[in-house]
Amino acid sequence: MHVVLCQGLDDGPDFLSEEDRGPRAVNVDLQTDATLQVDISDALSERDKVKFTVHTKSTLPNFKQNEFSVVRQHEEFIWLHDSFVENEEYAGYIIPPAPPRPDFDASREKLQKLGEGEGSMTKEEFTKMKQELEAEYLAIFKKTVAMHEVFLCRVAAHPVLRKDLNFHVFLEYNQDLSVRGKNKREKMEDFFKNVVKSADGVLVAGVKDVDDFFEHEKTFLLEYHNRVKDASAKSDRMIRSHKSAADDINRIASTLYTLGTQDSTDVCKFFLKVSELFEKTRKIEARVAADEDLKLADLLKYYLRESQAAKDLLYRRGRALVDYENANKALDRARAKNKDVLQAETSQQVCCQKFEKISESAKQELIDFKTRRVAAFRKNLVELAELELKHAKGNLQLLQSCLGVLKGDT
């Protein structure tokens, strides 16, 4: 299986290379075809927003041109996602999860603190830390770009969603969509809606499903989702500690350097060499942490969101089932009383159709979800292992050569 970015059938950039060149869709294995290709070709980070350049290549007749680009912001992505969710037609599909909001706060805060503390450290230390933080900022930036891209690619890959009108507007309309973020009232409404929904969800979940497949999926997804959530949180913590340790090694390296430059005795030369070694191993450690972040933490986060979306699908189906059963009961009652029978019949029909439609597509979606998940995990775990090995071997070599030099000197 080959890894694909939404750039067609060619191989994406080498994920094992040092640099992350361009966006990457690491968490999904998508088959795209030439009819619709979407990617984010550029992105600009401004004070408190990020502007994505969404680039489309398509042979579909719906579009005026074959290739075009527009600039979109995060809120517009959310608008698109929400429009899918609210669309009854798509009730039977797993709606690709919305990309998380670009969050540069932590990074910005650190840069600010660094600026304030500039006086208290040496010039080298300052430049080093600044480079660190800038690299971190860049990494977060790349991640957010990737996640927005993945969302679009998923939509583009979905046989039904790709035809959505809103989606086409999103891709093509080269003026501002005037999508405003939800104001306070709407946010409150959302909040209440969620409360109601989750209460309802519990109710719905309680209803035993006749279909074994769905019953199994329900229990499975519930458990899986919770465990992925836990794993995701723990992986974040682990990686954060790893990064802190790498930072410490960085500072140790610079202090050793200072010690080493105080004199030119043997000991000082020794210190300089060790300082150099630590500099290099630190870079590798930082990369290890970054790669773990990409391959493990991001993977888990993504599937946390996807499993939530799958759960949502099941909820909608469950809701439809309940409605259907209620409609059946209503019909029976109507027939018994012989009142409004026709009305009851039509509503029952509607419910039945809705339910069956959802069930059918849901089944397929869930199977696809499973396949996608297994493939993504496989890809990422293999890459994780390979990267860990690569870095460990690099580290080992550094240590061996340094020890060789140091021991030879003494």
Binding site: F220, E223, Y224, R227, V228, D230, A231, K234, S235, R237, M238, R240, S241, H242, S244, A245, D248, I249, R251, I252, T255, L256, T258, L259, Q262, D263, T265, D266, V267, F270, V274, L277, T281, K370, R373, V374, F377, R378, L381, V382, L384, A385, E386, E388, L389, A392, K393, N395, L396, L399, Q400, C402, L403, L406, K407, T410
Partner: protein, 598 residues
């Protein structure tokens, strides 16, 4: 001081020249017996050139029938002028050679020790391993002094040449200054540590065995192993440390012996050594700090990692402390050290308790000291000292910074270990709920890998702490001692200056009396002047002596520090290397599992 002039000049050069060249000539004749041609190195720092400078009548001491001098009870040697340690050992050595009958006491062997160290130099090739660099240290100290006294020593030594030679053949226990002191725990780990301890000494003894084959002298190794052993219970419980010494040094009663010591005993030893030797500019290694928190936890019987770690850390620190003490050539001679190692029961060192009367006294002394330090503005004639002090202070600062960072690293690694463990469990759970069997298996394998990583990180954190952080902590404390020796020098300078001022005043008084024509008080004034003149000379000499000692000590300290740091850091890097190798193993085992997902 005829010799003092001649000796001081060449002595300066000594610091630069390799001792062997200067000393090879006449010394060989003097001391070389055909039987002991390996003794190329004149073991004859017989006369201490320092003695020339320091003692009132150095040569005369040497020249006088050494018997006279050596008839003093050996304990005199350890009086407040440790400089004598250098002077007298050699002298009494010659005496010994002459009058072996008189000196049966084992203490005499102390005199031969420095000899032994000097003797070691020729063994360098044999001792290349761990010992050569070490061996050089003591010899450097002695050979520096040896050279200048050559001309003067010749006269006295020639008398003894034969006996010297013979004697050095048989009895020269070459004191090998590398004492491997090891504190080990009374547990299965103990055996491992003992074996590790045995290894460096084994490697040391191996060359010594072969050395003795090539040369009749047995090399002396001193090896200390310290184990701990808990006694008592409740809040009265205390940790007793078993100090086991293994030595062939003749100054000890037996070859191996073990004693029990408490932490306060170690502190007491330091107090005693410090009181005696710091005055003269020696750098006395400081013991680890008291820690009320740590010990209380242990006493209360809190069974957790932190208290076990604390105990181990303290044990290792005490071991290193003792090793440094016995490695110091002059301190090793101190009877307090011997008593500490040998004597079965020692009086409790109560004055080391923080809240004792002695403790308060110490605090007050320290306060006044620091106050006076601020007020003494020394007129530095030797820029070397000024530069060195600055270096020491800069280094202290950097080491402290480094220590804080390494501590932070240790903390983060421990955190990483814990978080990795948590993650491992989480992944295991995830794997068990995953319904694709291959993926499920791969996830549980991942959980196992992460579990092993947890262990690895834990070990790495321990290594960070024990190898690196403890090394830094030790040297921060040691630098404190170095600073103290510089301070001591300043104090002697101050005393000298004060005496000079006093002398000036007395002279003025005399002048005034002369002018006022008061003959009765005149005699008193003249007496005063004579008294103070003597004091000025004495104090000036003290100052020079202390300066020389400080300088020598600092050089020795720097060598030891360089060696220590290199050794420890290499050890630390090796542990890092091992971790990486383990890591590779684990991930290589995992990779096929991941690839097998379908």
């Amino acid at each position: 001081f005829v010799t003092s002039e001649t000796s001081s000049a060449p002595m300066m050069n000594l610091f630069m020249e390799p001792a062997s060249e200067a000393s090879s000539g006449p010394m060989v004749d003097l001391l070389m017996d055909p039987a002991s041609d390996d003794l190329k190195e004149p073991p004859k720092p017989d006369i201490n050139p320092l003695a020339d400078i320091i003692n009132d009548a150095p040569l005369s001491e040497v020249k006088t029938p050494v018997a006279a001098m050596t008839q003093e009870p050996p304990s005199d040697l350890f009086d407040d002028e440790p400089s004598e340690l250098f002077a007298e050992p050699r002298q009494s050595n010659t005496a010994k050679q002459q009058q072996t009958s008189i000196f049966d006491e084992p203490d005499e062997d102390l005199f031969s020790e420095p000899l032994g160290e000097a003797l070691k130099k020729p063994q360098n090739d044999v001792f290349k391993e761990a010992l050569a660099p070490v061996a050089k240290d003591p010899t450097d100290i002695f050979t520096e002094e040896a050279i200048t006294t050559l001309p003067s020593a010749v006269s006295t030594v020639s008398v003894n040449s034969k006996t010297n030679g013979v004697h050095s053949d048989e009895e020269e226990p070459d004191i090998f200054a590398e004492a491997t002191v090891e504190l080990s725990l009374d547990s299965p780990r103990n055996d491992r540590k003992k074996k590790e301890a045995a290894k460096p000494s084994a490697s040391a003894s191996a060359p010594s065995v072969s050395a003795s084959a090539s040369k009749p002298q047995p090399k002396t190794l001193e090896e200390l192993i310290i184990a701990f052993h808990s006694t008592g219970d409740g809040m009265n419980a205390y940790m007793a440390y078993k100090v086991s010494t293994q030595t062939t040094l003749p100054m000890f009663r037996s070859k191996t012996f073990t004693v029990r010591r408490r932490f306060s005993d170690f502190l007491g030893l330091y107090e005693k050594l410090s009181d005696k030797h710091t005055l003269n500019g020696y750098i006395v290694p400081p013991p680890p700090e008291k820690s009320i928190m740590g010990m209380t936890k242990v006493k209360v019987g809190k069974e957790d990692n932190s208290s076990a770690e604390f105990v181990e850390r303290r044990r290792a620190a005490l071991e290193r402390y003792l090793q440094r003490v016995v490695f110091h050539p002059s301190l090793l001679q101190d009877p307090d050290v011997r008593e500490f190692l040998e004597r079965d029961d020692m009086p409790r060192a109560h004055n080391t308790q923080a809240l004792s009367g002695a403790g308060f006294l110490k605090m007050i002394n320290r306060a006044t000291d620091s106050l006076s330090k601020m007020t003494i503005k020394m007129n530095e004639s030797d820029v070397w000292f000024e530069e060195k002090l600055q270096e020491v202070e800069a280094e202290d600062q950097q080491l402290r910074k480094l220590h804080i960072m390494v501590d932070s690293l240790v903390g983060h690694r421990k955190e990483l270990s814990v978080n990795t463990g948590g993650f491992a469990k989480s992944v295991a759970m995830l794997g068990s709920s995953e319904d694709n069997t291959a993926l499920s298996r791969a996830l549980s394998q991942l959980a196992e890998v992460e579990d092993k990583m947890e262990q690895l990180h834990q070990e790495q954190a321990a290594s960070d702490s024990f190898c690196f952080a403890e090394l830094l902590a030790d040297y921060i404390r040691l630098l404190g001692s170095v600073r103290a020796s510089f301070d001591q020098r300043m104090k002697t300078w101050q005393r000298w200056q004060d005496a000079q001022n006093m002398l000036q005043k007395k002279r003025e008084t005399e002048a005034k009396l002369l002018w006022a024509n008061k003959p009765d008080k005149l005699q008193q004034a003249k007496d005063d002047i004579t008294e103070w003149e003597a004091k000025v000379t004495q104090y000036e000499r003290d100052f020079d002596r202390v300066s020389a000692t400080v300088r020598k000590e600092v050089l020795r300290f720097e060598k030891e520090k360089a060696r220590d740091f290199k050794k420890q850091i290499i050890k630390y890097l090796e542990s890092l290397l091992q971790s990486q190798q383990q890591l590779i193993k684990y991930w290589e085992a995992f990779l096929p599992e991941a690839k097998a997902i379908a």
